[in-house]
Subunit: 123 residues, 4 copies
DNA sequence: GTGGTCTAGACCACC
DNA sequence: GTGGTCTAGACCACT
């Protein structure tokens, strides 16, 4: 379920974060589900537990999971997860748009650019 | 003109790179203009010359400026600068769109989202 | 394995770059192999770590190795390394040929010259 | 006759050297001809006399011109100029061939590569 | 321990 | 004075 690319430049803890977040967003890991324990996942992925721990801590700080000492990490409610995720992406898009507006591109032209990018992507 | 955030996680040389690139894209630094000398900018920003040097070297490697020993660093042709910049933003937008497609959003819905984001922005 | 000429005009970091690239091209350093760590090589060659770092960074930017923080630098796929290397040599030959054409030598005469040079070399 | 590219990365004194050498090789500057004086050329090209001086000194060291104090710099006999020039290029080609042999390419294959490169060039 | 960034200060090649 | 290289030594992020 979780794939780590050893040779990627993105840190491993980040890859774990991304993978888990994606599973939550796709509702594979649903509201209230328990994430695998740090040790468990460390063994499974053959990765240092510290690295897993860092990813979990980040997910907690960003409000995607709730950590209960001695029990484990649990997925928060799906609504808020989706919302936060969409907001983070909207922020990215907004910054891109602002950059294009700054160099004098019109809103209409930007929308057309978006359309053409979307056309090139798979559904 | 150039603002450095000492506490940011993005490296200082990267911030300088971004700032200068933005000035070139906005045509504040125009084709053929001479960038401030390494030492000059180092004094101005109270930053080590090596750090400035690193930013300048990166700009040269990425094809935005031409560096000439004994003379200085000069802004390259505006067309290619704009093109490269647009490409980098398109890449960002594309990644955002891919993320939204992954969570099941339709292309139509994504476009509408773009429209609504754009409406909230100044021209 | 790696020899540095302190008195050469070519920068030390460049010499390291060339040496390592040659080892990769010759498949002494093979696909996936870990390069010596920055500090290790610095000690071995009695050279400042920053200088080694610069060579490694360049190799990464040119697509010959993949760098991973906390793990090391790893040789990329051998095919692309060979291809890039051949291209760089072709460029050199091309410039030589152009120079000879400029002074009025015919293509046929140039080819013969190449043959005679090759005859003088070991297989 | 002499063209300087201000934005090139190759040093100006080197460009002057190359230009003058080319003129001598092409016999535009013939045996015994006097090169323009340092001052003259400096004014013509709007370049610092020191830079010109450096190019001239290099040409003398490499045996292409003879400098006579108080009189000027004079082109040596055409035969030796051509020979030295060809030798310098042969050296370049030889190094390229050696590199290709090192990575296991056969002499035959190298010759074919030369042919194909030559085909792509103008006479 | 690994790579990445930064500082302080020096020297060189070029103009 | 300008960019380019190098050293010495420090600190940070990641594994």
């Amino acid at each position: 379920m979780i794939e780590i690319n050893e040779n990627s430049t993105t840190p491993i803890y980040q890859q774990i974060y991304d993978n888990l977040l994606k599973l939550m967003v796709l509702d594979v890991l649903s509201e209230g589900d328990k994430l695998p324990s740090v040790r468990e996942l460390a063994l499974l992925l053959k990765i240092n537990p510290n690295t897993i721990q860092k990813a979990y801590k980040q997910l907690e700080q960003d409000g995607y999971v709730a950590s209960a000492v001695g029990k484990g990490n649990f997925v928060k409610d799906h609504q808020t997860i989706i919302k936060k995720y969409q907001q983070s992406i909207e922020m990215i898009l907004e910054n891109g748009f602002i950059a294009l507006l700054h160099i004098g591109e019109s809103k209409g032209s930007i929308l057309k650019r978006c359309e053409s990018i979307l056309e090139g992507l798979d559904d």
